[in-house]
C-alpha cells in the first residue's frame, strides 16, 4: 500500500514553488539546527522537495533516545546487507568506514544493476528480501512501477538531524528524487561526462558547438556508449535528444556513422589510443588513461552544458521484510553523515551534495558550475515522463 501522500501532492509544482518562494522556506529551515552527533531531542526540519524544493510538511528527525535504541538493535542484528556501486574502491572504502564507525558488519552485494533489480523484483513478489539498503542509480521502473505501487519504505522519521540537517546540504535542503520527498534520497550531484576528445587529434576548441560534431571531417571518428542500453551513455543520449531533437540525433549517430559500444573500458581506450578521437557517454574510467598522460579532455560545447545526475548515490529501502531493519537505518544515517559522504565521494570521485564535504580529488569537469541551468535527470518527473519518451525515440532512431 502506498503511504499517505502529504499536502504537497494536492498542489501543482508551480503553485507549490510559489508558496515556498512566498516566504516559507526560511522559517521552515529555522527548526533544523542539529548537534554534530546524534540529536539530543526530537527535531523538526524541512522534509524533502522535488528537485530540492522544501516540502510543506516538516520531517521528524530521530531523537537521541530513538537513535540509541536503533543502534543497539542494529548491533544485535550484527550485519547489514547493502547493494551499492560495483566498484572495488567504493566497496572497500564504504565497508571499512561503516564497520569502523559502528562495529556492525557490512555485507556489500556485488552485481550489475539489471541483475540486482531482477533479483529484487522477484524477492519483492515473494516477500523474501535479502538486501536491506539499495544505494544505487535510479531508472524508469523506480518512477513508473515502484513509486506508484508504494514499494519503497519512507525514510521520513528515520534520519538523524546530524545526518540530514538541511543546513549542511546544498541549497539548504535534501535532494529527493521522488516528488513526495520521502523515498529516494540523492547524495551526490554532478555534471554528466557527455563529451570527450583526444586533443592530440582534435584541438580542445575545435568543438565549440554540439553541431560541430556533424562536420564531415568527424564522420567515422566518433564512438559512443549505446544510448539505448543502461550505462553511462544513456544520460548523454537522452540529453542530446531532448536538447537538439530527433533529426540531430539521427544526423549524428547514423549520418556520422558513430561506433557504438557497451563496454566502459573499450570506449575510454578507443579515445586514448585515437582509434576514435571523440567519445560520447564515457564514465570516469577515462581517468585511468588521463592519469597516465593520455591527452583526453572533457569538452563543453557552448550550446549544451550537459545535464546533472546523481550516479550511484540514491538511497532507498524497499518495503517488506528486510533482514536487518535497524542496521539499515544506521547505514543510511552513516552514509548521509559527513564522514560517510567524505569516504563515499572520495572513493567514487563524485561531488557530495553536503556542503561541508570538500571536492578534493574529484575531476573538475564533474562539478556543476554556478549560474548554469542544468537539466536534472534525477527527478521523478524526468523518470516517469521525459525518459520513457526519449528512450522510445532512441529505440526508433537506432532500432530495437
Amino acid at each position: 500500500m502506498p503511504e499517505q501522500r502529504d499536502l504537497r501532492s494536492g498542489l501543482t509544482r508551480r503553485a507549490f514553488l510559489g508558496l515556498v518562494a512566498g516566504g516559507g522556506s526560511a522559517a521552515l529551515l529555522a527548526g533544523c539546527e542539529a548537534p554534530p552527533a546524534a540529536p539530543a531531542a526530537p527535531t523538526q526540519a524541512t522534509a524533502a522537495a522535488p528537485g530540492g524544493t522544501p516540502a510543506a510538511s516538516p520531517a521528524t528527525f530521530l531523537s537521541a533516545a530513538e537513535w540509541e535504541r536503533i543502534l543497539a538493535e542494529a548491533k544485535r542484528e550484527g550485519t547489514v546487507t547493502v547493494y551499492g556501486a560495483p566498484i572495488p574502491d567504493v566497496r572497500r572504502a564504504v565497508t571499512e568506514g561503516f564497520e569502523r564507525a559502528h562495529g556492525i558488519k557490512l555485507d556489500y552485494v556485488i552485481g550489475p544493476p539489471g541483475e540486482i533489480r531482477q533479483r529484487n523484483e522477484q524477492e519483492l513478489a515473494a516477500n523474501r528480501l535479502t538486501i536491506d539498503v539499495h544505494f544505487s542509480g535510479v531508472s524508469e521502473p523506480d518512477a513508473l512501477n515502484y513509486l506508484p505501487q508504494g514499494r519503497f519504505e519512507s525514510l521520513s522519521g528515520k534520519l538523524t538531524a546530524a545526518a540530514a540537517d538541511p543546513a549542511v546540504w546544498k541549497g539548504g535542503r535534501l535532494k529527493w528524487v521522488d516528488n513526495e520527498g520521502r523515498y529516494l534520497l540523492q547524495t551526490t550531484d554532478w555534471v554528466m561526462t557527455d563529451l570527450f576528445a583526444n586533443t592530440r587529434v582534435i584541438p580542445a576548441n575545435a568543438i565549440a558547438s554540439w553541431r560541430d560534431l556533424l562536420k564531415p571531417e568527424y564522420k567515422g571518428k566518433i564512438a559512443a556508449w549505446d544510448p539505448r542500453i543502461p550505462g553511462p551513455g544513456i544520460a548523454t543520449g537522452r540529453y542530446l535528444l531532448k536538447t537538439f531533437g530527433d533529426q540531430y540525433a539521427r544526423d549524428l549517430f547514423l549520418g556520422q556513422a558513430v561506433t557504438l559500444t557497451r563496454d566502459v573500458r573499450q570506449i575510454a581506450e578507443w579515445i586514448a589510443r585515437e582509434v576514435y578521437p571523440i567519445g560520447l557517454g564515457l564514465d570516469t574510467t577515462v581517468e585511468r588513461f588521463r592519469a597516465e598522460g593520455f591527452p583526453v579532455e572533457r569538452v563543453f560545447p557552448a550550446d549544451g552544458p550537459g545535464s546533472v545526475l546523481g550516479g550511484w548515490s540514491v538511497i532507498r529501502i524497499f518495503k517488506g521484510s528486510i533482514p536487518h531493519p535497524n542496521g539499515a537505518i544506521v547505514y543510511v544515517n552513516w552514509l548521509l553523515s559527513k564522514e560517510g559522504q567524505e569516504i563515499y565521494t572520495r572513493a567514487i570521485k563524485e561531488p557530495s551534495l553536503r556542503t561541508d564535504v570538500g571536492a578534493e580529488g574529484i575531476p573538475a569537469y564533474l562539478l556543476p558550475r554556478s549560474g548554469v541551468n542544468y537539466p536534472d535527470q534525477y527527478t521523478e518527473d524526468w523518470l516517469s515522463t521525459v525518459a520513457p519518451d526519449l528512450q522510445k525515440r532512441w529505440n526508433d532512431i537506432l532500432g530495437r
Binding site: 572495488p88 571499512e96 555485507d107 552485481g111 522477484q122 515473494a126 549505446d226 543502461p230 563496454d263
Partner: protein, 569 residues
C-alpha cells in the same frame, strides 16, 4: 543373467519406485524454471506480473529483422562447433591413440587454454588483430603489397576465430581424449591386421564406435555456442553484429524491457534443442556402442612413423596460437599499469596483484570458490552418474523422458534460466533454502547437469553390460557392480567431467549474481566487479588465479583418476 521370479519382481518394483522418484525430482528442478520461460513467451509484462495472454513476443520475434539477423549470425558462428569437433577429434586421436611426442604436455596445454577467462583472452586478441593498432596488422603493413589492416577482429570472422581457438577446439580435445581412452585398441588392431590404413581404421572403426560421444559433444557445443555472450558483446557491438544471446540481453535490459520477446526467443531455441535431443536419442537408441567388453581391453598406442613428429609440431603450433597468445597477454596484462598499453612510462607494476590479494573479500572468496566448486562437482557427479546409469542400464519407466529432461537446463541462455531458478526457489517448498549456500549449490547443480549427465551416459554406454552381469552373477548387488565395475572403467570421463563441472561452477557469474549470499560469493563475483569497471588488470589477476585453481584440480583429479584406472586394470 537370470533372477528368480520374486527377486525379479522386487527388483522391478524397487527400480520403478526409484526411477519415478528420480524423474519427479529432476523433473521438478528442470521443468519449473523452463516452464517459467515457455509461459513467459505468451505472457505480457514482467515475470512477476500476473498472467495475461499475449502473442506480442512471438510477433516481435517473427517481425523483427534485427532478431532474425541475430539468429542467422548465431547459426553462422556455431558452424565453428562441427569444425572444431573434427579438429578436436584429430588432436585427441593423436594424443591418445598415437601418443605423439609431447602428448601429455599438449593435452595439459589444451586444458589450460580452456581454463583461461574469456574476456582478457578476447582483449588479448584485440591487441593482436585490432584494425587500428593490432600488433599483427601493424607488422603486416610493413610488407610492400599491404596497404591497410589485413585483419579486423570486430567482425563475424573475428568472433569466430576467438571462439574457435580459445574455447571450442580446446574443449573438444579435452572432451574427446577420455572417450578415446575408454576404447579397446584391439578393435583398431584387428582392422589394421586386415590391411586397413590408419585413416580407414578411423573412418570405419573408431568414429562409428565413438559416435554417441561425438554427438553429445556436438550437441553440447552447438547449444553452448549459441549462448556465448562476452566475446560477442566486446567484438560484435562495435560492428553492429547481434547474436541470439546479446539480443536476449538487449530485450531484457533495455527500457522498457520486452520480456515476452526475450522469452519467445528463448523458447524458440528450446524447441530447437528438443528437436536435436530427440534426434540424438533416436539415433543412440538404435545403435549399441560398447567399446569395452569382458575379454579385457588393450590401450596400446598405434604404431606411427616419422610423421608423428610432424603431427606433434602441428599440435604445438595450434597450441601456440590458442594458448600462447592469450596466456602471455593475460599474465602480462596482470602486471601492466594499463592492460595492453606499452607506450606509457613504466608500463609494468605489481600493484594489481597487491590490490587483489589484500582485498578483504579475497580470502573468503577463494575459500568459497574451492568449496563451491568441489561441492557442486562431487554432488553433481554423484547424482549425474546415477541418473546416467538409470537411463543406460535400467528398464525403469520414463528413462527416455529423464534423458530428455536432463538436456533442458541448457535449452535457454543462463540469463533466462536464472529468472526461472529464482522463481523455483522463491515460490516452492525450496524457498526455505533461499538465501543460503544450498540454493546456490542446487542452481549450479541444475545448470551443470546436461553435459555431465549425457557424457556420463555415453561413457556407460561404452562399457559392455556383460561386465556388470558377471558381477551380478557372482552375487554383487547393483550398487557394488556400479561402484566396482562401472565407475573405475569410466574414470577417465568422470575425471574430465569433474574438472569441467568444477570449472563451470567457479567461473559462473549469472547464477551467482542472482542467488549468492554475500557470505558465499566466490571469486567470479570479484572478477565481475573488476570487469564491470573496466579494471582489466585486476580482472586478469583473478583470471590467472581461477585458471591456476582449475589446473591444480585438473592435475589432482587426473592423478586420482589414473590411480583408480590402474587399480581396476
Amino acid at each position: 543373467m537370470s533372477l528368480r521370479a520374486p527377486l525379479a519382481v522386487r527388483y522391478a518394483t524397487r527400480s520403478t519406485v526409484a526411477g519415478l522418484a528420480l524423474l519427479v525430482v529432476i523433473g521438478a528442478l528442470v521443468v519449473v524454471p523452463i516452464g517459467v520461460i515457455v509461459l513467459g513467451s505468451v505472457k505480457a509484462g514482467r515475470p512477476i506480473d500476473p498472467f495475461s495472454f499475449t502473442l506480442e513476443g512471438w510477433e516481435m520475434l517473427l517481425q523483427s529483422p534485427k532478431t532474425l539477423r541475430s539468429v542467422v549470425n548465431s547459426f553462422f558462428l556455431v558452424l565453428r562447433v562441427p569444425l572444431a569437433l573434427v579438429v578436436g577429434l584429430a588432436m585427441a586421436w593423436l594424443l591418445v591413440r598415437v601418443r605423439i611426442p609431447g602428448h601429455a604436455l599438449i593435452e595439459l596445454g589444451f586444458w589450460v587454454a580452456f581454463f583461461l577467462p574469456i574476456l582478457p583472452v578476447t582483449l588479448g586478441w584485440v591487441l593482436v588483430l585490432d584494425p587500428n593498432y593490432g600488433l599483427l596488422n601493424e607488422a603486416l603493413e610493413h610488407l610492400p603489397f599491404v596497404t591497410g589492416p589485413v585483419f579486423n577482429i570486430y567482425s563475424l570472422l573475428g568472433i569466430f576465430w576467438v571462439h574457435f581457438t580459445a574455447t571450442t577446439v580446446p574443449i573438444m580435445t579435452v572432451i574427446l581424449a577420455p572417450v578415446l581412452r575408454q576404447f579397446d585398441s584391439s578393435l583398431e588392431e584387428s582392422s589394421r591386421v586386415c590391411g586397413s590404413g590408419p585413416v580407414r581404421t578411423a573412418r570405419d572403426i573408431t568414429i562409428p564406435l565413438i559416435a554417441p560421444a561425438l554427438l553429445t559433444a556436438l550437441l553440447a557445443g552447438l547449444i553452448r555456442g549459441m549462448e556465448a555472450f562476452e566475446v560477442e558483446r566486446v567484438l560484435g557491438v562495435p560492428s553492429g553484429i547481434d547474436v541470439y544471446s546479446t539480443r536476449i540481453y538487449d530485450l531484457i535490459r533495455t527500457e522498457p524491457a520486452v520480456w515476452p520477446g526475450a522469452m519467445a526467443l528463448g523458447t524458440l531455441f528450446l524447441i530447437l534443442l528438443l528437436a536435436l535431443a530427440l534426434l540424438y536419442q533416436r539415433y543412440t537408441a538404435r545403435h549399441t556402442f560398447a567399446t569395452m567388453g569382458g575379454r579385457g581391453t588393450s590401450f596400446r598406442p598405434m604404431v606411427a612413423g616419422r610423421w608423428r613428429y610432424l603431427a606433434s609440431g602441428a599440435c604445438f603450433l595450434f597450441l601456440a596460437v590458442s594458448l600462447f597468445v592469450p596466456l602471455i597477454t593475460l599474465l602480462t596484462g596482470s602486471f601492466m599499469r594499463l592492460y595492453g598499453i606499452f607506450t606509457i612510462e613504466s608500463p609494468f607494476t605489481a600493484e594489481h596483484w597487491r590490490t587483489v590479494l589484500t582485498d578483504k573479500l579475497f580470502a573468503s572468496a577463494l575459500t568459497n570458490t574451492v568449496a563451491l566448486g568441489l561441492g557442486v562437482a562431487i554432488l553433481g557427479l554423484t547424482v549425474y552418474s546415477l541418473v546416467a546409469y538409470a537411463i543406460v542400464r535400467t528398464r525403469m519407466p520414463g528413462r527416455q523422458l529423464l534423458s530428455l529432461l536432463a538436456w533442458l537446463p541448457w535449452g535457454v541462455p543462463g540469463i533466462l534460466l536464472g529468472v526461472g531458478m529464482l522463481t523455483l526457489l522463491l515460490s516452492s517448498p525450496l524457498a526455505i533454502m533461499y538465501g543460503t549456500v544450498g540454493a546456490l549449490v542446487l542452481a549450479l547443480f541444475v545448470k551443470e547437469m546436461p553435459f555431465a549427465t549425457h557424457m556420463t551416459k555415453t561413457a556407460f554406454g561404452q562399457v559392455s553390460a556383460e561386465l556388470e552381469q558377471a558381477a551380478r552373477t557372482c552375487g554383487a548387488g547393483w550398487f557394488r557392480a556400479y561402484r566396482t565395475i562401472m565407475l573405475p572403467l569410466v574414470s577417465p570421463t568422470l575425471v574430465m567431467l569433474f574438472v569441467l563441472v568444477f570449472l563451470g561452477t567457479i567461473r559462473d557469474i549469472g547464477t551467482v549474481v542472482l542467488l549468492a549470499d554475500p557470505r558465499s560469493r566466490p571469486l567470479s563475483v570479484l572478477l565481475l566487479e573488476f570487469t564491470l569497471n573496466g579494471n582489466l588488470e585486476e580482472a586478469s589477476v583473478i583470471g590467472v588465479i581461477i585458471a591456476a585453481l582449475a589446473i591444480i584440480v585438473a592435475v589432482g583429479a587426473r592423478r586420482m583418476g589414473l590411480r583408480v584406472e590402474a587399480r581396476s586394470a
